[in-house]
């Protein structure tokens, strides 16, 4: 039974997002705002970050005990000597998308990736994912020209014609669409997951040491978080309100648009069956193989069973 304990009885936990809080993160704030964490006896602080590397560093340094980590990141982090593992997978589909303009490169087909120039970040692993995806699809990855364009400059680079295509998480779609409309053209979105890329992306992760020391905390966190996700999918409007209460500078339409997109990544046949956050060992293994095949890894890649720990999902699956 949920206990509404006094503040001092709550266990303090810090959770690091993969980026600054945006609409895609509404679920975490919904869990917070609906009191799911408190019900579990947790006092959760959500902190922002600037991408995978920083989440891993936050967890490794115990600045955060839990984090929103992605599978490729976990592989790299373990190769770099940490013991960070996933306990739940939220983004069942990888959010990596390629955007182009309808009157420009207009990338709608995998084949078009050959010879394409793409604005991407030297600071992200996405270009390597795209190349792996091309290899998987029987294309020559070397033919992709990657230009390093920082995220804030990427939309401009596309709209001003500096580069014919850019990559972003799919959640950027609404904003880009608006920009394209201003430029009197329309946006073409190419989500690799829709064209055969099988790769788990973000989920809840923690260090093995923490998992071993506080298995109950992890379990409670996962349970509350998944309830937050369900709440958000069911009541996007209320979830957005929860987030806006805590995070400044977000517009409600933008949050709602992102929630709609995230839904595509989160609600799949698998999760409909096994519940939100669930994952399969075989897909983990496939993901590991994809990463080791395509991403430059320094150090030794871990074995697949080291990437995750089972048994932290709620006994009763939280189905969307």
């Amino acid at each position: 039974a949920p206990t509404f304990g006094l503040a001092q009885e709550l266990t303090k936990v810090t959770f690091s997002l993969d980026f600054i809080p945006l609409g895609r993160h509404a679920a975490w704030y919904a869990a917070l705002g609906e009191g799911y964490f408190t019900e579990e006896g947790l006092d959760v602080t959500i902190i922002p970050s600037q991408g995978t590397a920083q989440v891993m560093q936050a967890i490794a340094s115990n600045t955060a005990q839990l984090g929103f980590v992605d599978l490729p990141g976990v592989v790299l982090a373990q190769a770099a000597g940490t013991d960070i593992r996933m306990v739940a997978v939220n983004y069942q589909k990888a959010p990596y998308a390629i955007f182009s303009l309808a009157n420009g490169a207009n990338v709608t087909d995998t084949k078009q990736l050959e010879g394409l120039t793409i604005g991407s970040g030297a600071g992200s692993i996405t270009p390597q994912v795209i190349k792996g995806f091309m290899k998987q699809s029987g294309l020559d990855p070397a033919s992709l020209n990657v230009s390093n364009v920082a995220p804030p400059a990427r939309a401009s680079a596309l709209l001003s014609g500096q580069v014919p295509s850019i990559e972003f998480f799919i959640m950027s779609k609404p904003g880009l669409e608006k920009g394209a409309k201003d430029a009197s053209t329309s946006l073409t979105t190419f989500l690799m997951a829709d064209h055969g890329l099988e790769l788990y992306s973000n989920g809840i992760g923690a260090s093995q040491a923490f998992i071993e020391a506080h298995p109950d905390v992890v379990r409670k966190f996962v349970r509350a978080a998944l309830r937050g996700w369900k709440f958000t999918l069911d009541n996007p409007d209320a979830a957005a309100d929860h987030q806006m209460k805590v995070v400044d500078g977000l517009s409600k339409p933008a949050i709602l648009a992102e929630i709609d997109i995230v839904r595509e990544l989160v609600v799949t046949e698998d999760t409909k069956k096994n519940g939100l956050g669930s994952f399969e060992a075989s897909k983990m293994e496939a993901g590991l193989k994809f990463v080791t095949d395509n991403l430059a890894i320094t150090g030794t890649a871990p074995s697949a069973d080291k990437l995750y720990v089972e048994g932290f999902l709620p006994d009763e699956p939280v189905k969307p």
Binding site: I20, I47, A58, S61, P151, S160, G175, L176
Partner: protein, 254 residues
């Protein structure tokens, strides 16, 4: 004197008006996409619509800037004294200082977060790191430029090193110190923003990042404009302090 004051207010406005006009003309004639560069009008509207929001986020950034600046002065000036008065410390410390200066702060942010946490301390640390070097270099240069005769006067009176510093070197170096302070204070704005990028929940830098990520350019540029205005305000405050601190330098100005 009154006319002088009017001019002091009018000319900067002319300068700003010129930027605005150029900006408006550019966005208009080249029909620049709003995501790339919104027009000043868009920005003004966004600034007006989000006035409360911007004001709320101005405060933490201002605080970071001011405290970071004070930290940079409080530590930079003594370091400059050490470096200016001892050739050994000069040679030994400078590489350390340059290393601190020329390392991109964004890249060392993680370790700063580990050390200082997500609170204001980490932002102060970064603002300090960014602003520190000009203070040291300019102040040290100024201290070394102290007229030899005045040093000898103090020496002949057997002034203590502290007296030499406070009563001779420092006042004599004031123009240099203020030059360093002016550069430093505008740099703290950048430092605070970098600090906010790296990890924070508030501040104009944070707002900028959020707006940017939502491709809400007008709001992002509104934040940028506010940051510029913050920089100008801080610079103006230092310039004012200079005029007050150096009444003998009549044609003070910036």
């Amino acid at each position: 004197m009154i006319l002088d004051r009017v001019f002091r207010a009018i000319y900067p406005l002319i300068g700003l008006a010129l930027i605005l006009a150029a900006w408006q003309a550019y966005t208009q004639f080249f029909a620049v996409n709003r995501i790339i560069l919104p027009s000043p009008m868009d920005v003004l509207v966004a600034s007006n619509d989000n006035f409360g929001l911007l004001l709320r986020h101005l405060w933490p950034t201002l605080l970071e800037c001011v405290l970071g600046f004070m930290l940079a002065m409080a530590i930079g000036v003594p370091v400059a004294v050490a470096v200016a008065n001892s050739q050994i410390l000069n040679l030994t410390l400078y590489p350390v200082l340059i290393a601190m200066q020329s390392v991109p702060k964004v890249a060392v942010a993680p370790i700063i977060l580990v050390w200082f946490g997500l609170g204001i301390e980490s932002k102060l640390a970064i603002a300090f790191l960014v602003a520190f070097f000009p203070v040291v270099v300019d102040t040290a240069t100024g201290l070394r430029a102290t007229p030899k005769g005045l040093l000898e006067l103090a020496q002949s009176l057997r002034a203590s090193p502290l007296q030499v510093f406070w009563k001779v070197q420092f006042p004599s170096a004031l123009p240099f110190v203020f030059a360093g302070a002016k550069v430093a204070v505008t740099l703290t704005v950048i430092g605070a923003v970098i600090g906010e990028f790296v990890g924070s929940n508030e501040g104009l830098g944070n707002l900028l990042l959020t707006a940017n990520s939502q491709l809400n350019s007008p709001l992002a540029w509104a934040a940028l404009v506010w940051l510029s205005l913050l920089g100008m305000g801080l610079f103006g405050a230092v310039a004012l302090a200079e005029r007050i601190a150096m009444p003998w330098a009549k044609n003070g100005g910036h």
